[in-house]
Symmetry: C2
Subunit: 352 residues, 2 copies
């Protein structure tokens, strides 16, 4: 094995270029005393071997640990959406842990503001070099962003954005356009004079997130001069019983609703309601490639699911921190994810 | 740099485990004489460092070159679809060339059977260890597959499949299901009693490829008991003038056609015809995220594009050969690509 080892790195470059190790060293560190021709030759071999002298070696040599904190909602009985970003974060972690990157995960309850603040407090008490978070609670996220900026800790948002927080990056959907796509898909089954219901099922409904999606949704109808009525309902008690109760009430007073657009992954709760109440005639569109949602898609109760590659959001979010903290390279400030359209017919081949 | 170099590989593992290099060597080669505890410790460090002793070192030591041939259609004035797979192949090549993998590209003319055979002859005269190809011409591909099998050269198909050729892998769409998705999307704008046109623009139209897509397309109408007529036209002279002439003829004798489904990337030729003849009332669906196609999508002449991630097909196709020839690991025999749905509203965020 010792013999094999000599094939790695500088020695192998020197062997291939037929020069001394000292010469290779000079080229790598941009020192003088090497002819242009030899320099070119060595650089070509370096490129060919994809040799990266500085990252792994110097990271290992420095033995400095980079600690990252991840702050995401808990997987709950109501939604397992957050499994996917965690999977992506784990994949990134596997790739970069050899550079001394360590990741600690902090989880909060989407139904409890305080749990978010408690976790941010723990993070700020720690000694983290960077944070990846889903800013689900806007006021609390703003406060946390302020604290991070003061401590010069870079942080990236995934899934949803809050403007003007000096975050290192946002990796997630173009929310307005995502709502716009939802409206386009919904119109396929609508009659001339339609009545459409927009449903927000969330503790926080007046956030930038939901407002952007709804604005995009309404804009499609306006841009295409489609007459009709769009009504909105916010369901802040997010358990299935409360959702059922609220939907029953609103469909009772609005019997002529033709289509429902659910602004997040809770669309299965609405599908379940429609199934039980035999209202399969209503078009239904919502978000995210979750098991329950795909089941209702296959049963024909959900017409379309819109997805934003949550696994990749987690992966890219963590890699953005790695890029800035370990490689010292520039990071794309906003990276919009694809707005994927999933139907019963193409779901079997989807890569979430 | 010599000092840094010691941080790589076996020496670093020995240092971290606080054992001799000989001990690490024993564990790596599964020899006796190491306590269970030390063994576990060393294996943990190996895992942590993501250390792969055998691939790069032994490949470099053997200095054996693995030569791969790529056989794809030329980019032509009619379609630049094949740029994307080549991009993916190039990306794979960048990753694996350090293991001694070399790639040679052979291009044929989609309008000329003979050019395909000429290129396969060149490949067989060479000394290639594996082949990646798009089997656009079925008879010629079968013949080539037979020759490869005789020489025990593994080969992978991308983009379209031919059954029973003992190919190492197929990486591309589930063709039947892709046509099925096309029909679903097309029905959104159809009236009760519709007349739909399926257009094949290709020298080869009775291939497994097109037949599968068309069967999927027709099956959707059958499965959903949608009455109406589906007619098919094959346009074997694929230049834009011939396409225009044939479409003019068929739309003249079938004035009531409501929708057109183009079975490949040539949908822009049909869109151009509809635009010139002011027939924007006809729904149009076709394949592939090409510049011209996206332009007509944005102008509203194309309703939907279906895409199968051609860049990734090229990447995965080459990596399949690398997996079997360099790593000696198993390869997934069939890898179906996603069936992506692109509209004017989500195209800006699509990753081809």
């Amino acid at each position: 094995m010792e013999k094999d080892n000599t094939y790695f790195g500088v020695k192998e470059i020197a062997r291939r270029a037929n020069v001394s190790i000292a010469t290779v060293d000079r080229v790598i560190h941009n020192r003088t005393g090497v002819s242009e021709k030899t320099k070119r030759k060595i650089n070509e071999i370096i490129k060919e071997l994809d040799y990266q002298p500085n990252i792994l070696a110097s990271r290992l040599a420095s033995r400095k640990i980079i600690s990252l904190a991840v702050l995401l909602p808990k997987v709950s009985p109501e939604t397992d959406f957050w499994e996917a970003p965690l999977k992506g974060i784990d994949r990134a972690q596997q790739e970069i842990k050899k550079y001394g990157v360590q990741v600690s995960t902090f989880l909060f309850d989407l139904n409890d503001h305080k749990s978010f603040s408690e976790q941010t407090k723990l993070i700020l008490e720690g000694t983290f070099h960077g944070v990846l978070l889903a800013p689900s609670f806007v006021d609390e996220s703003r406060e946390f962003a302020k604290a991070c900026n003061k401590l010069k800790i870079p942080f990236t948002f995934i899934d949803s954005d809050i403007p003007d927080q000096e975050n290192l990056a946002y990796i997630g959907p173009h929310l307005f356009q995502s709502g716009y796509v939802g409206a386009k898909l919904l119109t396929y089954r609508l009659k001339e004079k339609h009545k459409v219901l927009v449903v927000n099922i969330s503790k926080e409904t007046d956030t930038y997130n939901y407002l952007q999606i709804e604005e995009g949704f309404r804009s499609y109808f306006k841009d295409n001069s489609l007459p009709g009525e769009i009504i909105r309902v916010d369901i802040k008690d997010t358990d299935n019983l409360s959702v059922t109760r609220d939907l029953k009430r609103i469909l009772h007073t609005n019997e002529d609703i033709e289509a429902i657009f659910v602004t997040n992954s809770r669309v299965s709760a609405v599908a379940s309601f429609l199934e039980k109440n035999k209202r399969g005639d209503i078009s239904l569109i919502g978000y995210d490639f979750l098991k329950e949602n795909v089941r209702y898609l296959n049963e024909g109760l959900i017409d379309f699911l819109i997805c934003h590659k949550p696994e990749e959001q987690g992966y890219r979010g963590l890699m953005a921190l790695y890029q800035t903290l370990v490689l010292g390279s520039a990071v794309e400030k906003v990276h919009f994810m694809p707005i994927d359209i999933i139907t019963r017919e193409n779901q079997a081949f989807y890569q979430n």
